[in-house]
């Protein structure tokens, strides 16, 4: 009886093609998984940083008596202290100056590819400060751009007239 031993060339070729296809599929899937994971991490970090920045900016704007926003934002408090917000990619810095000295500094790290703009908008009886976060022009960038965001807050609003209560 002539029993065949080993594998034929066709069997080996079929197996090699199957393994190559499986390897290509798993490599693509893994690359996509890592990419999505990076995007999720970036979005979550952006939301957390912007939330913290929003709270700070809103509190500072409410306490300020005047504001100027030309490139960077300068808020003057009633006691003479100055709070300066500036953006140098990828960080928004908040500096408190009092008596000509730097008293305090905070840093808010935004994702790479973000750009920040400070503007003021005159209102009927005051001023609104607008902080805009938008994706920077990055030709040839591979990852999708960050989400835009805008924070609006009034300078020195008369919040005593607002009667607040517990959230429903």
């Amino acid at each position: 009886m002539n029993r065949r031993r080993g594998k034929s060339l066709i069997e080996v070729l079929v197996m090699m093609s199957l393994f190559a296809a499986a390897l290509a599929a798993s490599t693509t899937t893994l690359a996509a998984l890592f990419r999505i994971e990076r995007l999720i991490r970036r979005d979550i970090e952006q939301a957390a940083v912007l939330d913290r920045l929003s709270q700070r900016l809103r509190a500072d704007a409410h306490a300020a008596v005047s504001c100027s926003a030309a490139g960077r934002c300068e808020l003057t408090l009633a006691d003479g202290r100055e709070i300066r917000y500036a953006f140098a990619s990828p960080v928004v810095t908040r500096e408190v100056h009092g008596g000509g000295k730097l008293v305090h500094r905070d840093g808010f790290y935004l994702p790479l590819g973000a750009t920040v703009r400070f503007e003021t908008e005159p209102e009927a009886s005051g001023t609104l400060i607008r902080l805009s976060v938008s994706p920077a022009e990055m030709p040839g960038a591979y990852s999708p751009p960050i989400q835009s965001a805008t924070i609006l807050s009034a300078i020195n609003p008369n919040t005593d007239s607002i009667q607040r209560g517990p959230a429903r």
Partner: protein
């Protein structure tokens, strides 16, 4: 054929191709698992984008409430408005806009004004986050800092 060889051939089952079946099954299971992980990651990604929209709607509601206060201080005849602040351009140069509907109600038997702010962001009928804020505003009486009565805030997922 010798009897011993014949006996071995009868007891040993045909196993040709069994390794391929095992390998293919393993690969199929692995691909199924990675597909599930991929799907769940996509869903988390979509959720993180939605939470950013909710945050933006919340910031717009805060800004709209402060705008309403500013308008009420400037003019007691202020009756609300539909405010459409422009949000920074998203990718591709399209500007996203949110809508803040400010409603002012003046009860006849009260000096307080009831202000309701409804915010939708983005201004899209299908995918949007909405936030509602309402508060009482003491008109022309800044010396009434009773800050614990009626304010509500409701947030709705799209």
């Amino acid at each position: 054929m010798k009897p011993a060889q014949h006996q071995r051939l009868r007891t040993k089952p045909a196993r040709r191709g069994s390794a391929l079946v095992v390998a293919l099954t393993t690969l199929l299971i692995a691909m199924l698992i990675s597909g599930l992980v991929f799907r769940s990651l996509l869903s988390v990604h979509r959720q993180s984008r939605t939470s950013l929209q909710q945050l933006q709607a919340h910031w717009l509601a805060e800004g709209a409430a402060e705008r309403a206060c500013s308008q009420l201080q400037a003019s007691s005849a202020y009756a609300g408005e539909t405010w459409r602040p422009l949000i920074s351009p998203a990718s591709g140069g399209d500007a996203q806009s949110g809508v803040a509907e400010i409603r002012v109600e003046r009860p006849a038997d009260s000096k307080q004004v009831h202000v309701t702010v409804d915010v939708r962001f983005p201004d899209d009928p299908w995918q949007r986050a909405s936030v509602q804020r309402s508060f009482e505003f003491a008109e022309k009486s800044p010396s009434s800092p009773n800050k614990n009565e009626n304010q509500s805030s409701q947030e709705k997922a799209p």
